[in-house]
């Protein structure tokens, strides 16, 4: 459907910005994501899974990236990583793809309406949360290479 298409486009644009395609000319890189269970924050889950898959495959990447979803409650509080229930009740849901080099923003998408200041606040919160995710990537890779 249209929603899946839009998610595919967002994922594709993020990956294209990060993968060093220069090293693989005339080559198609296909990324297949299968949703096993969806409990909310699906797009950022897909982004994180895509990054780990690209890491595992050994494709050359310029930087790591992660996805963080923020939900803006009607009273103005920011919830990170909302469940499906919280996303329904929220005034706006924002998803950001954040790169590991200087926490730059690779992709931003919003559902619902929010003011510019609120978006900036969500972005700042997402950038802080991204550090936790990057630490998780590092720990996973360390565990994998410690076995050999």
């Amino acid at each position: 459907g249209v929603l899946e298409r839009s998610r595919e486009q967002l994922l594709r644009q993020t990956c294209e910005a990060v993968v060093l395609g220069v090293l693989h000319p005339r080559t198609a890189i296909s990324l297949v994501l299968q949703v096993l269970s969806d409990a909310g924050s699906l797009l950022s889950c897909c982004l994180n899974a895509a990054c780990m898959a690209l890491l595992d495959a050994g494709l050359p990447l310029a930087t790591l990236f992660c996805g963080v979803t923020c939900a803006l409650q009607p009273d103005g509080t920011i919830l990170l990583d909302p469940t499906a229930q919280q996303e329904q009740e929220a005034r706006a849901t924002l998803t950001f793809a954040i790169a590991s080099s200087e926490r730059k923003v690779l992709m931003a998408t919003t559902k619902g309406s929010c003011s510019v200041e609120e978006m900036q606040q969500c972005l700042a919160a997402a950038q802080r949360a991204a550090s936790t995710i990057f630490q998780f990537y590092r720990d996973s890779v360390r565990r994998r290479y410690s076995k050999s």
Partner: protein, 256 residues
């Protein structure tokens, strides 16, 4: 957070690095600290040119890591840094010895599947003792052990089965029977290291012939089919077994 500004390359040797990490080289490391400075210890700066191996790219101040893995360093001759990563996909590199499967014969050239993104080409004259009259007997589906003479990202890879002096030195068509299977590139590098324990232990079990291709393919042939399959299973399992478990498995087999 420290990795954003860049950490000294020597500090991370032997540790896991991730894409996006910036490594600073010794010469630039000094420049970052203070502006112009008279370097009293001339031995600090490395002589010769630094080699930037797979998984690293030069970027302004230092080296940018592009794949995840362990950072390795070789101090000889100017020094070399590279990232040791485990992957299963092979990218053709010039000089690599690989096992290819013949998929088509197009006039004077054979097309081989080497596991890369493009099939490699092999001329019929690239065998020892081959002339226009004396063609090698290669059929579709044969296995060929050869090396890359052209392999870059812009051109189709080309292979030959002779070395620079015209001798075959072990390359050519791989004989009948035997068993071909695929493993990860990390295991291949482990097996090809000098004095590999796995090969030494296996050779005490049964006599066998072994061809190892850098593209992740291994061909094994032993006296009977059963022995061949046992060796194949052990080599495939070696990826996940520790040295202890391997010794136990081999002891059980040689006991039987």
């Amino acid at each position: 957070m420290a990795a954003e500004r860049g950490t000294a390359a020597e500090a991370l040797v032997g540790q896991v690095v991730l894409p996006g990490d910036l490594l600073l080289l010794p010469a630039h490391y000094d420049e970052d600290a203070e502006g112009e400075r008279l370097r009293l210890s001339a031995g600090a700066a490395p002589q010769g040119r630094l080699l930037c191996g797979p998984g690293l790219r030069r970027s302004g101040a230092g080296l940018l890591v592009t794949t995840c893995g362990l950072l390795r360093h070789r101090p000889g001759g100017g020094g070399a840094y590279w990232v040791d990563s485990q992957q299963k996909r092979y990218v053709p590199v010039k000089g690599d010895h690989v096992i290819g499967i013949v998929t088509a014969k197009a006039g004077d050239v054979f097309r081989l599947d080497v596991g890369g993104s493009e099939p490699a080409s092999l001329s019929y004259l690239a065998f020892e003792g081959a002339t226009k009259r004396n063609r090698p007997n290669v059929q579709v589906g044969d296995l060929i052990y050869g090396q890359f003479v052209v392999a870059n990202k812009d051109m189709e890879p080309e292979m030959v089965c002779i070395d620079s002096s015209g001798k075959s030195s072990g390359m050519g068509i791989i004989g009948q029977d035997g068993f071909l299977f695929k493993v990860s590139l990390g295991l291949i590098r482990k097996l090809l290291a000098p004095k590999c324990e796995i090969i030494q232990e296996l050779s005490q079990l049964y006599p066998f012939e072994l061809v190892i291709g850098m593209n992740g393919r291994i061909w094994v042939k032993a006296k009977t089919v059963q022995q061949t399959l046992i060796i194949v299973n052990i080599l495939e399992a070696c990826e996940y077994m520790t040295a202890e478990q391997r010794k136990q498995a081999l002891a059980k087999l040689s006991g039987n």
